[in-house]
């Protein structure tokens, strides 16, 4: 299932790359699903950008576009649902930042983000690992099924990006045993 997903994602990337190569000015094509405005909570957060290097000057590769499934919770908190988001980027760090930002936003009523109240402190991509440092305000704490879906949504979403093999989730910079006191965090979580 994961493989199939990855496969179609690769195809999408290849296609996008080809289009980009044609010099298409791939600006923000708006998705029909229409959840474009960023959630208020997220904008208030410190920028996940950690590296200054992706100089938006001319250095980089041409802007690329990708469609990514963003996982969230259904109305009944029984399973993950997903929506497709189209993301434009020029570097992998940019892509990771954008995907995590989308993960923290709600989709429609049946695509409510489990991460909405989590405070993102830093996202760092290097090699094949993403390190995400968060702060969990007490108001963000979920019950056990919520925490389970929250961790799953992160893994399902990020591991679509084939260049990510592991996710290191830190709580206030520490390798915490658990995010919310039910699920043990693996340090790091590896692509299974």
């Amino acid at each position: 299932m994961n493989n199939r997903k990855t496969g179609s994602l690769l195809a999408a990337i290849a296609l996008c790359a080809a289009l980009a190569g044609c010099g298409q000015p791939s600006s923000g094509t708006v998705q029909g699903g229409g959840n474009t405005e960023p959630a208020a909570g997220v904008t208030a957060m410190p920028s996940p950008q950690t590296t200054d290097k992706p100089a938006p000057t001319e250095s980089a590769m041409p802007e690329q576009k990708i469609e990514v499934d963003i996982y969230s919770s259904d109305t009944d908190l029984t399973e993950l649902t997903k929506r497709i988001e189209s993301i434009s980027y020029t570097t992998e760090q940019e892509l990771v930042d954008a995907v995590i930002k989308k993960l923290m936003e709600d989709g429609n009523e049946n695509q409510r983000s489990l991460w909405k109240k989590i405070e993102l402190k830093q996202v760092q991509f290097s090699q094949d690992n993403v390190t995400i440092d968060v702060h969990v305000p007490d108001s963000a704490r979920l019950g056990s099924p919520g925490e389970a879906l929250l961790i799953e949504s992160l893994k399902e979403t990020l591991f679509q990006l084939k260049f990510i093999d592991s996710i290191q989730l830190l709580v206030d910079g520490e390798q915490a045993e658990s995010l919310m006191g039910h699920i043990e965090l693996e340090h790091p979580m590896n692509r299974s």
Binding site: S73, T75, D76, L77, R112, L114, K116, K117, D138, S139, R141, L142, G143, S144, P145, G146, A148, E177, S178, M180, G181, H182, I183, E184
Partner: protein, 500 residues
């Protein structure tokens, strides 16, 4: 198994033959023995016991030119020829032939100082063939290939003359009884059927001498009287036993069997078990089935007995005075407040309140001892909670939580298990929890939460209700409902453990 069937067939033919012999012998006379046409005169006459003709071993051995010696201390007769030695022990049906144990179908006996052994055994081991002349009650033996089973009486064994000193010739009436008073059963195989049954394939009637429950490690012992094993099994004993492991069984680790005692012969079957078990024996011809279940499941089962007492478990509760150690785990605590509630009270407070109430209730239960992972507002790591329960070797683990999600409309009670072996406990507890909370049923679910995944006893995690829902929060944060929840948890524990 196929081999077993053929043995059975063979045995039944033999029995039929013996019966004939027995009748022929009704003329109460003593059989006379002839070896190569020469009558063997023994101090002790051949004898028919349980339809087997027993002949004095000394006279035969000497007639064949074999050496024979008697060890009075061990009551062992040793017969030697150029191919090796045969040792016969009085009172057993096991002979040592060239260092291999061989089963005789009757025991060797000592009669007036003379060892008598089954003629059939002697025939096989000495390479003799027999002819039985019914009218004159004569046994003619020749050193040849064997042929006629028709006269061959399976001899039980008691080699004739062990002690030179003794004399005594008591003519025995051959074959006056058809029934063996002390029939020997030979076990040809013991197997596990993949479910909850042990199958024993055997000849004759297998009857229990006694059963036992032994501890540390826990095991159930079945001794079968006058029973031994086939030559093949005895030949493959390693360290005196054969051992089989059973993997992934709820209460069986494996089984092993051995010849516990040679004289009289007792075959022992030992079941290595994870908890007390009850059993039921079913016997059909040549097959005895031991059906097993846990002692606690057997309480209301017809016909199940406990090893040791052989009383039905209904009468005696095997765990009548066992004390169960129950870990009550109040979720979160200290720096981890758990979920917020619409009423402001944090989840950690609810969890601790209920845990303390459960502990108070369990203190009234003689067979239940509560152990709290925390009894105040302290942070405890998940792994430490697991270790706490494991170190205690707790019998059950109950983690108390209240739920929360960013959807105020979600309402209800959920019960979680991680390992399949905890599902039964979860089901029982959930029923009681629903009654106590009065909230919608959000069912028993599986999830790998740390404390229920990494513990090894039945472990469940209760999400009593949603603090993010106004109705749920109001209910479960009330003292009255918390009392009901605590009582429900105790009721669930008692029902699962089948305690009063």
């Amino acid at each position: 198994m196929k081999k077993f069937t053929s043995i059975m067939l063979f045995m039944s033919i033999m029995f039929t033959l013996f019966a004939g012999v027995g009748q022929a012998a009704e003329i109460s006379k003593v059989p006379r023995l002839f070896l190569e046409g020469v009558e063997l005169k023994a101090l002790t006459d051949p004898k028919i016991v349980d339809d087997r003709t027993l002949v004095p071993v000394r006279v035969l051995a000497e007639g064949l030119g074999y050496g024979i010696s008697w060890d009075g201390v061990t009551e062992t007769v040793t017969v030697e020829n150029d191919t090796g030695t045969i040792k016969l022990m009085i009172g057993t049906n096991i002979a040592l032939v060239k260092d291999h144990f061989v089963e005789m179908d009757t025991k060797a006996i000592l009669e007036n100082g003379t060892t008598l052994v089954p003629i059939r055994f002697i025939g096989e081991q000495f390479g003799l063939s027999f002819e039985w002349v019914a009218e004159s009650m004569e046994v003619h033996m020749t050193k040849q290939l064997e042929e006629t089973p028709e006269t061959t009486e399976p001899g039980t064994t008691e080699p004739g003359t062990t002690e030179p000193g003794a004399e005594g010739t008591d003519p025995k009436e051959p074959g006056e009884e058809e029934q063996n008073s002390e029939q020997t059963s030979i076990i040809s195989n013991i197997g596990y059927n993949g479910m909850d049954q042990i199958l024993i394939f055997h000849t004759g009637e297998l009857s229990i001498d006694r059963t036992l429950t032994l501890g540390d490690p826990l095991r159930a012992v079945f001794d079968f009287k006058d029973a031994s094993f086939s030559e093949e099994i005895i030949g493959s004993f390693a360290g005196g036993e054969i051992k089989s492991m059973i993997e992934d069984h709820a209460f069986l680790n494996g089984f092993r069997y051995s010849l516990f005692q040679k004289s009289p012969s007792i075959a022992r079957l030992v079941l290595d078990v994870k908890e007390d078990i009850a059993y039921k024996l079913d016997t059909e011809e040549g097959l005895t089935t031991i059906t097993l279940m846990t002692a606690k499941d057997a309480v209301n089962e017809e016909g199940m007995k406990l090893p040791g007492e052989d009383k039905p478990p209904v009468v005696v509760d095997p765990n009548a005075d066992k004390v169960y150690h129950i870990v009550i785990d109040a979720g979160h605590g200290g720096s981890d407040p758990g979920a917020p509630s619409v009423q402001g009270t944090r989840e950690k407070v609810f969890n601790l309140n209920v845990a303390l109430k459960v502990k108070a209730l369990l203190e009234k239960e003689e067979q239940l001892q509560a152990h709290l992972t925390r009894s105040d507002d302290t942070f405890i790591a998940l792994n430490d909670r697991v270790k706490f329960a494991e170190d205690l070797k707790a019998d059950l683990f109950v983690s108390i939580h209240a739920n929360s999600i960013d959807r105020a409309n979600i309402t209800g009670t959920e019960t979680y298990y991680s390992r399949e072996s905890s599902k039964g406990f979860a089901n029982v507890m959930h029923k009681h929890m629903l009654e106590a909370t009065g909230l919608p049923n959000r069912y028993v679910k599986q999830a790998d939460f740390r404390v229920i995944k990494s513990t090894t006893m039945p472990a469940i995690l209760l999400e009593a209700g949603y603090l993010s829902n106004a109705t749920d929060a109001k209910a479960i944060l009330s003292d009255a409902t918390q009392n009901k929840i605590a009582a429900a948890i105790v009721a669930g524990i008692k029902e699962y453990l089948k305690l009063g």
